[in-house]
C-alpha cells in the first residue's frame, strides 16, 4: 500500500485524507497484532483493524454521496503535517502502544475536521465527531487489553 496524504484544501481532500488515515490505521493494527503475543491484545488489535476497514468503506460512501455543490468550498485551517502518521521504519512492526498513539491522533484529526465542517454541513460534522469518539474508545480498549 502506498500511503498518500493530500494537502487539506477542500472537503474532497479532507475525506481523501481521512480514508488514507483509516487505511494506515488498519495496516498498523494488523501488523501490531502479528507482533503482540498476549491473546487479548491480539484480539483487540484485530478488532481495531476490522473497524478501520469498515470505517474506510463508510468514508468512501460519504465522499461520494455527501459532496455536492454546497460543500465544494475551499477549506483553510488544517495542516496536513499535523495529522500524517509517523512513518514506519522498513521491516519494523508497530507495537500496541504505537497503535494507541496513532488512534489518539486520528481522534484529533476527526475532531478538528468536525470543527471545520460545523459551518458547512451538519451531517458531515456529526460523522466526524462520531469517528473521533470511536477512535478514543478504540484507544481505550487497546490500552486495557494490554494490561
Amino acid at each position: 500500500m502506498t500511503e498518500e496524504f493530500p494537502e487539506l484544501t477542500s472537503f474532497g481532500t479532507l475525506l481523501g485524507f481521512a480514508q488514507a488515515l483509516e487505511a494506515a490505521a488498519e495496516t498498523r493494527a494488523s501488523q501490531a497484532a502479528t507482533r503482540e503475543s498476549a491473546e487479548a491484545a491480539q484480539a483487540a488489535l484485530r478488532a481495531c483493524a476490522r473497524r478501520h476497514a469498515k470505517r474506510g468503506r463508510q468514508l468512501e460512501r460519504v465522499r461520494r454521496e455527501w459532496l455536492n455543490e454546497v460543500v465544494l468550498q475551499p477549506i483553510t485551517g488544517m495542516r496536513r503535517e499535523d495529522y500524517v502518521p509517523p512513518t514506519l521504519a522498513r521491516d519494523a512492526l508497530p507495537d500496541l502502544r504505537a497503535v494507541v498513539r496513532f488512534e489518539e491522533q486520528i481522534a484529533r484529526f476527526f475532531d478538528d475536521a468536525a470543527e471545520l465542517a460545523a459551518d458547512v454541513l451538519g451531517g458531515l460534522e456529526r460523522s466526524f465527531r462520531r469517528l473521533a469518539a470511536e477512535s478514543r474508545d478504540l484507544a481505550g480498549e487497546l490500552q486495557s487489553s494490554a494490561s
Binding site: F5, S10, G12, T13, R64, N68, T76, V84, D119
Partner: protein, 497 residues
C-alpha cells in the same frame, strides 16, 4: 508516503475518434467534418469528435422513432429496470467518469465528482417513474355513473442539446426522465466535451436498454438544426446561452414542438450586515469561482449591503487570492482552467472592458503562474469594485472567475438591483434574519434562490430553471416539471350503459 501534490492518473492519454450511438450500436461517423478535443489545462489534444451531417442525425431519429412503439408499451415498472442497472453501473464507474470529465473540461476533480453525483441522482430519480407518472382518477367525476380519469402518456422522440460546462450532468437532466416515461431520445452533447457522455453511453448500453431507445449524435449547429427540423422529434430540451436559446425556442416552436430552453445568467449575491461571515466567505468563494465561474448558478455580482461592505470585500478578496490554480487531476487544486481557448479569450476581453469602463480592479487574475501548465487556459480570481449597474461587467454574462461588486444601501435596493437584470436564473442572500430571507425569496425574480447558500442548485427531484431571459418555456428541467414536459395528460371520461 508521498508529500507531492496528489496527481490522479488520467484514464487514457487519447480517446481516439468519437462514435455516434444509434440503435444500440456505436457507429463511426461518415461525416468529413470533425474537430479536435483539447485538455484545457495541458492544451494537449485528447480526442477527435466528428460533426454529424443532417443525414446522420436522421438515422438516429429513425432509430428512436422505430423504438418508440414497443418501448412505450413496456410497462413503467419494466422500463425502470435498466435505469436501476445504469444507476449501479454509474456508481461503479463514478471515479473514472469524473476523471475523464476533468480531462476534457478542466474543472477540478471534486467538482467533477460532484457533478457526476448529480448526474447519477437524475438516474435515481427516473427510477421512481412508476409512482411519479401516475395520473388521477375520480369515480363519478363526470356525473353519477360517469367516471373521469387523467392518464399520462409519452409522446415519442425527444432530443437534448447540451452545453460544455457540465458534460456528465446536463444530458442526464433530460433523457432519464423522458425515457423512463416511455419516450425515446437523441442526445447531442457539446462538441467541446463529448468524452464523458461517450463513456456514459457505454454504460447505457451495458445497462440493457432496448436498441434505439437512447441515441447520441456528436455535432454542431448542423446537427441541432436537423433535430429542430425533423418532424418526428416532438420536443427539445436545451441548455446554453440566451441567444442560442432564443433561436432554438423560436425554431422548435415554428416546427410545432414542445420546447424548454435554459439560457444565460447574471446572478446577484446579496450580503446583509447581519450575515455570519465566517460561514459565508468560503461559500461565496465557491459560488463565484467554483467551476471557474462556468456555472449558470455561479455568483456574478456581489452586492454587499450598507456598512458591512468593506469588511465583506476585504475577506472575500483575501480568500479569493489564496485559491490554488492547477490541473483538475491534482487533487489539491482549487480552481481549474477555463473550458477552452476561445472562451478564455472572451473572458479576458471582459476583464479588459471592465478596466476600460472604469471599474476598480481589486484582484487581477490575468496571466497567473500555474507551474507545469504554461499552455493552460487559466485565469485566476478577478474582482472589480465600484461597478455601476450600467457597466458591461454588471449586465453581461461573463461565465468566468470575474466578480463585479456593486455596493448598495439597503435590502430593498439590493432586491431592485437583482430584479433590474434581464436574467433571473439564481440569486442568493446571506443573512441571519428570517425576515430578510423571506423578503428576498418572496420578491427576487429568479428560478433558484439561495439563503446562505451561494449555489442554489436544485436536486434531481426539484425543478431546475430560471425566470426572465434565463429561461424560455414553461416547464423546467428535472423533478415533476420534467415529467410533465415528457408526458401528455389525457383525460378519459367513461360511461358504461
Amino acid at each position: 508516503m508521498s508529500t507531492a501534490p496528489r496527481h490522479l492518473p488520467e484514464v487514457a492519454e487519447h480517446y481516439g475518434r468519437m462514435r455516434h450511438v444509434v440503435d444500440g450500436e456505436f457507429v463511426e461517423s461518415a461525416s468529413p467534418r470533425s474537430l479536435p478535443v483539447f485538455n484545457p489545462a495541458t492544451a494537449g489534444e485528447i480526442a477527435t469528435v466528428p460533426l454529424a451531417d443532417s443525414g446522420e442525425v436522421e438515422t438516429a431519429v429513425d432509430a428512436a422513432h422505430a423504438a418508440f412503439p414497443e418501448w412505450r408499451e413496456t410497462p413503467p415498472n419494466l422500463r425502470v429496470q435498466p435505469m436501476f442497472r445504469l444507476k449501479a453501473l454509474l456508481e461503479e464507474h463514478y471515479e473514472s467518469i469524473a476523471r475523464i470529465l476533468v480531462q476534457e473540461h478542466g474543472k477540478v476533480i471534486d467538482e467533477a465528482r460532484g457533478s457526476v453525483r448529480r448526474a447519477i441522482d437524475n438516474v435515481g430519480f427516473a427510477c421512481g417513474i412508476p409512482s411519479l407518472m401516475m395520473g388521477e382518477t375520480l369515480e363519478d367525476g363526470g356525473a353519477a355513473g360517469i367516471d373521469e380519469e387523467v392518464i399520462r402518456q409519452p409522446l415519442g422522440v425527444f432530443a437534448a442539446v447540451t452545453p460544455f460546462n457540465f458534460p456528465a450532468m446536463v444530458p442526464l437532466w433530460f433523457w432519464p426522465s423522458a425515457v423512463a416515461c416511455g419516450n425515446t431520445f437523441v442526445v447531442k452533447p457539446s462538441e467541446q466535451v463529448p468524452l464523458t457522455q461517450a463513456r456514459i453511453f457505454e454504460l447505457i448500453e451495458e445497462a440493457g436498454f432496448p436498441d434505439g431507445v437512447v441515441n447520441m449524435v456528436h455535432g454542431d449547429r448542423e446537427a441541432v438544426d436537423a433535430l429542430l427540423a425533423d418532424p418526428r422529434v416532438v420536443g427539445i430540451s436545451f441548455v446554453g446561452s440566451t441567444p442560442v436559446a432564443e433561436h432554438i425556442y423560436r425554431t422548435a416552436a415554428a416546427h410545432g414542438k414542445r420546447v424548454q430552453c435554459q439560457g444565460g445568467a447574471k446572478n446577484f449575491i446579496t450580503v446583509m450586515p447581519d450575515a455570519n461571515l465566517r460561514a459565508a466567505i468560503p461559500n461565496l468563494v465557491s459560488s463565484f469561482f467554483g467551476n471557474t465561474g462556468q456555472r449558470c448558478l455561479a455568483g456574478a455580482v456581489l452586492v454587499p449591503v450598507g456598512e458591512c461592505a468593506d469588511k465583506v470585500i476585504e475577506q472575500f478578496v483575501a480568500a479569493a487570492a489564496s485559491l490554488r490554480l492547477g490541473y483538475g487531476l491534482d487533487e489539491t487544486a482549487q480552481l481549474g482552467p477555463l473550458a477552452g481557448k476561445p472562451h478564455f479569450e472572451r473572458v479576458l476581453s471582459f476583464i479588459e472592458k471592465g478596466i476600460a469602463e472604469g471599474a476598480e480592479l481589486l484582484l487581477d487574475g490575468r496571466s497567473p503562474e500555474v507551474p507545469g501548465y504554461p499552455d493552460g487556459a487559466f485565469i485566476g480570481p478577478t474582482v472589480f469594485d465600484r461597478v455601476t449597474p450600467q457597466m458591461t461587467l454588471a449586465r453581461e454574462e461573463i461565465f468566468g472567475p470575474v466578480v463585479a461588486i456593486l455596493r448598495v444601501g439597503s435590502l430593498a435596493e439590493a432586491i431592485e438591483l437583482a430584479n433590474g437584470s434581464r436574467y433571473g436564473n439564481a440569486s442568493s442572500i446571506y443573512t441571519t434574519s428570517g425576515k430578510h430571507a423571506r423578503e428576498y425569496k418572496y420578491h427576487v425574480r429568479g428560478g433558484n434562490i439561495g439563503v446562505n447558500i451561494g449555489v442554489p442548485a436544485p436536486m434531481a427531484y426539484f425543478p431546475f430553471g430560471g425566470q426572465k431571459d434565463s429561461f424560455l418555456g414553461d416547464l423546467h428541467g428535472q423533478g415533476r416539471d420534467g415529467i410533465d414536459f415528457f408526458t401528455d395528460r389525457k383525460v378519459v371520461i367513461s360511461r358504461w350503459v
